[in-house]
C-alpha cells in the first residue's frame, strides 16, 4: 500500500492528534457532566483541515482504537464516525465552515448522517437502543406507542446525535477560525513548489 502520494507526513501526524482531541472532548464532557458526547471534535477538525478522506480515516481509526483498547462497543460505530468525517470534510471543502451559517448547516447534516447510519447498527446489535439515558427514554416511549422498533431507534439516536453534533461543530468552528494560515496550508497536499530563479 503506497500512502506517500496522497497522505503527507503532516496529515498523518494530524490523525493521531485529532484522535487525542476526540478523547479530550469526551473526557471534559464527562468531567463537566454535560449531556453530550463531544467525542468527535478531532474528527471534524481533521475533516476541515485535510478534507473528507482524512476525516473518514480519522473517524474510523478513532473507533478502531477505542474498540481494541477501551470499549469494544465503539468498534460498531466506526462506520458512523467515518461518515461524519466525510460529510464535514465535503462541506468544509465547499467553504461552509468559514461562516457561522454554513457551520450550523454542516452540523445538522452531520447529525442526520450519524443518525441514519447508527440506527441500523443499533437495531442489529442491541435491539435499537443507544445506552444514553435521554435517548433510551424516548425509545421506551416510542415502543410503548406501538411504533416500529426501527422508528423508535431512529428517535432515540436523533435526540442524542443532533444536539451533540451542533455543539461539536460550533466548537470546531471557533477553533478552526483561529488557526494560523501557515498551519492550515500544511495539510493541503496540492501545493506545488514555485520557481523563484530569475
Amino acid at each position: 500500500m503506497n500512502t506517500k502520494k496522497w497522505l503527507s507526513t503532516a496529515v498523518l501526524v494530524l490523525i493521531p492528534a485529532c484522535i487525542g482531541i476526540n478523547f479530550l472532548g469526551k473526557s471534559f464532557a464527562e468531567a463537566l457532566h454535560l449531556p453530550l458526547w463531544l467525542d468527535s471534535i478531532g474528527t471534524c477538525l481533521a475533516a476541515c483541515l485535510a478534507g473528507p478522506i482524512v476525516g473518514a480515516i480519522c473517524g474510523a481509526a478513532n473507533n478502531l482504537i477505542y474498540g481494541l483498547t477501551l470499549s469494544p462497543i465503539s468498534l460498531v460505530y466506526a462506520l458512523t464516525s467515518a461518515a461524519i468525517g466525510i460529510v464535514v470534510g465535503i462541506l468544509a471543502n465547499k467553504g461552509q465552515m468559514r461562516h457561522i451559517k454554513g457551520a450550523i448547516l454542516t452540523s445538522i447534516l452531520a447529525g442526520l448522517v450519524a443518525v441514519i447510519i447508527s440506527t441500523p447498527l443499533n437495531v442489529i446489535f442491541w435491539g435499537g437502543m443507544t445506552g444514553n439515558t435521554w435517548g433510551d427514554a424516548v425509545y421506551a416511549w416510542a415502543v410503548a406507542q406501538k411504533l416500529p422498533m426501527f422508528i423508535a431507534s431512529f428517535f432515540d439516536e436523533m435526540v442524542v446525535d443532533i444536539p451533540d453534533k451542533i455543539a461539536t461543530i460550533l466548537i470546531v468552528f471557533g477553533i478552526y477560525k483561529g488557526l494560523p494560515k501557515t498551519l492550515t496550508s500544511l495539510y493541503q497536499s496540492n501545493d506545488k513548489i514555485e520557481n523563484l530563479n530569475d
Partner: protein, 284 residues
C-alpha cells in the same frame, strides 16, 4: 571540496509575500563547527531546514538558487535521502520524540528501522549513540517520562544513530534549564570531536563564541556576515542586527583592547591571553 555549497538561495513560504531567505550564498568545509546568530524571524531556522530539504519539500512555497550537499542537490533530492547525510535537532524536545515508541531504546531505533538497517547493526548503533550521549541508564524508560534535557539527548542520540555527516541544531537548549543546556553542549562538543560537521543556531552568544569555528550573522532573510567569531562580534554595527556581543568583547571594546588582527577577543581565554601579552610588554 566543500561539504555544503549554497548559491543564491531564495525561499518564500506559501501564502507569504516576503522572502524568508534572500539570495544567500556560502560554503561550509567538512568538520567545521558553524554558529548562526540573528534576531527572531531573521531566517535562521529556515536556513537550517533548507539544508536537510524540509525547505522546500515539506513546506512547498517558492524556491530559487541551490543547496548542494557533497554532490546531492537538495531541490532534486528528497528528505528521506538527505536524512542519511544530514541530521536535524530543534528546540522542543517533546515534539521530537516520535510518540510511537514505548522505550528510549525503541525510540532511537525508529529512524534505523525506517532506513532499513539490519537488526544487529541497529542494536550496535543504538548502544554506541546512547553511550556517546550518556543516556544508557534510561534505555527502558518511556521517552515522555524523561526531563527536557534527557529527552533532548535522546533526540540527539536518535539522530546520531543514523550516522549523519552533518548535524544541524536549531536552538537545541532554548527550552532547557541551565543543567539541561550544559548536558546538550557537552554532547555537541563530543560530536564535533568525532569530526562531524556541525551547524548550530543559538541565542547564548557566549557558547557560540566558545565553540564555533565560524559564525553566520543573519538579518531579515539575508546573510550579513560569515566569518570567525571575533570578526563577526567585532562589527561596529552589531547591535543594528539585534545581537549583543559576548561579554568579554563588550568589555574589550570599551577598553579598546584589540588583538593583533585588529578584532576584539570573544572569550575569557582570548581576553586573558591578550592581557598577559600587554602585561609582559609593560614589564619589558
Amino acid at each position: 571540496m566543500s561539504k555544503i555549497t549554497v548559491t543564491n538561495l531564495k525561499y518564500k513560504y506559501p501564502h507569504r509575500d516576503n522572502l524568508a531567505l534572500n539570495n544567500i550564498s556560502f560554503e561550509i568545509q567538512p568538520g567545521e563547527f558553524i554558529g548562526i546568530v540573528g534576531e527572531n524571524n531573521s531566517g535562521k531556522s529556515t536556513l537550517c531546514q533548507s539544508i536537510i530539504g524540509l525547505v522546500p519539500h515539506f513546506y512547498k512555497g517558492g524556491y530559487g538558487g541551490s543547496v548542494i550537499i557533497d554532490d546531492i542537490e537538495v531541490y532534486k533530492s528528497d528528505i528521506s535521502t538527505l536524512c542519511k547525510k544530514v541530521g536535524l535537532i530543534f528546540q522542543n524536545p517533546f515534539n521530537q520524540v516520535t510518540g510511537s515508541k514505548e522505550t528510549v531504546f525503541e525510540e532511537i531505533a525508529f529512524g534505523l528501522e525506517n532506513i532499513g538497517i539490519p537488526r544487529d547493526e541497529m542494536i550496535e548503533r543504538i548502544n554506541f549513540s546512547m553511550k556517546l550521549l550518556d543516556i544508557e541508564q534510561y534505555k527502558d524508560r518511556n521517552p515522555f517520562d524523561l526531563s527536557g534535557g534527557q529527552m533532548q539527548r535522546v533526540a540527539i542520540a536518535s539522530i546520531i544513530a543514523m550516522k549523519p555527516e552533518i548535524i544541524i541544531l536549531d536552538e537545541p537548549t532554548s527550552q532547557l534549564d541551565p543543567a539541561g543546556s550544559e548536558e546538550v553542549f557537552q554532547a555537541v562538543t563530543k560530536l564535533s570531536n568525532e569530526g562531524i560537521t556541525i551547524i548550530m543556531v543559538e541565542h547564548k552568544i557566549e557558547k557560540i563564541a566558545a565553540y564555533c569555528d565560524k559564525v553566520m550573522l543573519m538579518h531579515k532573510g539575508e546573510l550579513i556576515k560569515f566569518d570567525t567569531p571575533s570578526e563577526v562580534f567585532s562589527l561596529d554595527n552589531l547591535s543594528d542586527y539585534g545581537i549583543n556581543p559576548p561579554i568579554f568583547t563588550s568589555i574589550c571594546k570599551k577598553l579598546n583592547l584589540r588583538k593583533d588582527d585588529n578584532n576584539y577577543p570573544v572569550t575569557i581565554e582570548e581576553t586573558l591571553q591578550l592581557l598577559k601579552k600587554e602585561r609582559s610588554y609593560e614589564q619589558n
